[in-house]
């Protein structure tokens, strides 16, 4: 039920998957929205605060998810998958994790470029780990944006592939992510 098996994902892995999916698309939308607000908009301060707070919490979730991934059995891909599909999906998953972490680190570096920490919902503060670096906010900002678009692009591709397995191949690839066993 909780843990993965050779054939199926456990509840923890499934919940983590959908939580991260929801948060990533939410943060992407919020990020696009907040960088376009006018100065007098009521959300001008609040939206970035929420974006940064959730982003930092997501980092902890991803670290836990990776740990969970490594200490658990990894369900085998469905037997109907071709060799290329197996290799491609494995690398897509790895790249998704890499993009997630890189995007969050880049975002962290924007806000901490001058030595300020990141306040997470007023609960605690994540300190700036690097000393202030001139112009880091600009470089980190551009990287964060490119990575976020790449991540969302790849996630969409990942979703389309899952739908293709469900609709065209009629295998269990997609349904495995809904029903823990």
């Amino acid at each position: 039920m909780w843990k993965n098996t050779q054939q199926n994902y456990g509840l923890i892995a499934i919940l983590l998957h959908w939580l991260v999916a929801l948060v990533v698309f939410g943060l992407f939308g919020l990020g696009l929205y907040m960088t376009d607000l006018s100065y007098y908009d009521a959300w001008y301060q609040k939206a970035p605060f929420i974006h940064k707070s959730i982003g930092m919490l997501l980092l902890f979730v991803i670290v836990f998810r990776l740990v969970w991934r490594f200490i658990n059995v990894r369900p085998e891909p469905e037997a109907s998958l071709s060799r290329i599909e197996k290799v491609a999906s494995e690398w897509a998953h790895r790249l998704l994790y890499l993009l997630l972490i890189a995007t969050m680190i880049a975002g962290y570096l924007i806000s901490t470029a001058d030595g300020r920490g990141i306040d997470v919902f007023g609960w605690f503060e994540i300190p700036a780990l690097l000393p202030p670096v001139k112009g880091m906010e600009d470089i980190a900002g551009e990287i964060h944006e490119v990575l976020a678009w790449t991540l969302v692009g790849l996630a969409v591709l990942h979703a389309l592939a899952a739908i293709k397995h469900h609709v065209i191949d009629k295998d269990k690839t997609l349904m495995r992510m809904f029903s823990p066993k």
Partner: protein, 191 residues
Amino acid sequence: MKKSIVGAVLGVMLTGAASVHAADFVMDTKNAHSFIQFKMSHLGFSWVLGRFNKFDGEFSYDEANPAAAKVSVNIDPSSVDTNHAERDKHVRSEDFLYVDKFPDAKFVSKKVVPEGDGKAKIIGDLTLRGVTKEVVLDAKHIAGGNDPWGGYREGFEGTTTFKLKDFGIPKSLGPAAEEIQLYMTVEGIRK
């Protein structure tokens, strides 16, 4: 041989004599005895202070004939510093200074109108965000003289105020923050 020595001595004397009159100065930015700062209202409640960390400039000045003075400053707008990286990033963006497209800013004097007591109006062209407009700098000669390290310096300060809109800055920060005040104080070392 003798002639050339005499010539050299004369030359030195003449240069020395000339220095009492118009001389050219380089702004001391290397050791940061020149500053370009700005001040803007935040919502009408308080002031945001900032400065440009990178610039260089020159001026010529003759205390006896201030009307002949000239000044020019080149500012790197990407060096804006308001003590907050995220705000500076925003100021450098297209919303404000758009430094990627307009990497140069400058002020070049056109005319100096002395007002006595070391004060003068310096009328010149300010280029910011690709727009060049005339502004008037209220300037004041503070003092000048030999420094302790063998150089000769003259110091000034000046202020000017302009609207962000005048330089095509598209972002509105509200009715209380349409204008920006620029303050500069420079110390020039005689060339």
